[in-house]
């Protein structure tokens, strides 16, 4: 396969995923504008941070006036799972030159990673197979920028009387509920939720970080106990 074959195979593998991603990008754009971010900041967050759920959280925390350091720590914690993708795809990218590693790391989101790792694990790698990840990554990136822009455009037209702010927790509910498949993950979510209620009055939104730490600890503890 040539460079071009790999690239277009990546693009084709990514297209079906855009159906799920683009409504999400539109909701992000509309909400970011709704919490008071400028159009420019709302749009550029999609390329500077370029990570769906942490962009929603950033928009929300900025809107509530949380301190910058807490927001940055929260973004890092939420995106820590990308270290798993990085570790899992690293062997396939090890022959690449550094500029390629930098570019592909920037593009390494959940949705670009998934089809690429499936491709690499089933087909193995050749001299040009990093072009496949470039194809999935660039396709997702373009779809994310376009849908953010569309969301900002539509968001400006939504009357503020609608309780659009409620779409944010609803989006998080849609993300979290399907994750509660095991007892450990359900308990981790429940404890984190309870702690966040109890610690709500803590300054600087520190309750959020405390609650997340408690939830993670409970999940790890229960999983460890089950495995004995």
């Amino acid at each position: 396969m040539t460079r071009r074959d790999y690239f277009w195979a990546g693009v084709r593998a990514e297209l079906p995923l855009l159906v799920g991603v683009m409504p999400f990008g539109m909701i992000y754009g509309a909400l970011a504008l709704n919490v008071g971010l400028s159009k420019l900041a709302s749009q550029l967050m999609s390329s500077i941070v370029f990570a769906g759920s942490s962009q929603f959280i950033t928009a929300k925390l900025v809107g509530e006036g949380a301190p910058g350091l807490v927001i940055v720590v929260t973004i890092a914690v939420v995106n820590l799972r990308h270290a798993l993708y990085s570790a899992s795809i690293a062997p396939f990218l090890s022959p690449c030159a550094t500029p390629w590693k930098l570019l592909l790391s920037y593009l390494l989101t959940d949705e670009a990673y998934a089809p690429a790792i499936v491709h690499y694990e089933s087909r193995g790698i050749g001299p040009y197979s990093h072009w496949f990840l470039l194809g999935t990554g660039l396709t997702l990136w373009s779809g994310w920028q376009a849908s953010t822009a569309l969301g900002i455009f539509l968001g400006a037209a939504i009357p503020t009387a609608w309780s659009l702010d409620f779409a944010l927790p609803l989006t998080f509910i849609a993300m979290v509920v399907p994750l509660l498949k095991t007892r450990a993950s359900a308990a981790s979510a429940f404890i984190a939720g309870l702690v966040s209620l109890g610690a709500y009055q803590l300054p600087y939104k520190l309750g959020l970080i405390l609650a997340a730490a408690a939830g993670i600890a409970v999940g790890v503890y229960l999983e460890g106990r089950r495995k004995g």
Binding site: A83, F166, S185, A212, V220
Partner: protein, 103 residues
């Protein structure tokens, strides 16, 4: 902190996380403990954000039939559980909230 500085720091942190193992391949290993802990980041962080939105809409704890956000959020969670569809969940939650707010 300025919004641009927040985005820049958050973006750099995200980029560094994504680059970590790709760049340091062979020199960095992910421990079993960390791998396990990372699985619980999404459920913990997301529900830590959702709970106060539903249970303390006005800033004070409120579990009553008058708390329309709690009712709408519960309905949305049920839709999320059965449909696993983001858009359906949001539409259902907004619809229930709008309906209940009329009364």
């Amino acid at each position: 902190m300025n919004i641009w500085l927040i985005m820049l720091c958050g973006g750099l942190a995200t980029f560094a996380i994504r680059l970590s193992f790709i760049y340091l391949f062979g020199r960095l290993r992910i421990g079993e403990g960390l791998r396990r802990a990372l699985n619980y980041v999404p459920p913990s962080v997301l529900s830590a954000i959702v709970f106060p939105e539903l249970f303390m809409p006005g800033g004070a704890f409120d579990v009553s039939l008058g708390n329309v956000r709690l009712l709408a959020g519960t309905a949305a969670a049920l839709v999320a559980w059965f449909s696993k569809n983001t858009l359906a969940t949001i539409v259902a939650g907004m619809a229930v909230l709008t309906l209940l707010s009329l009364f």
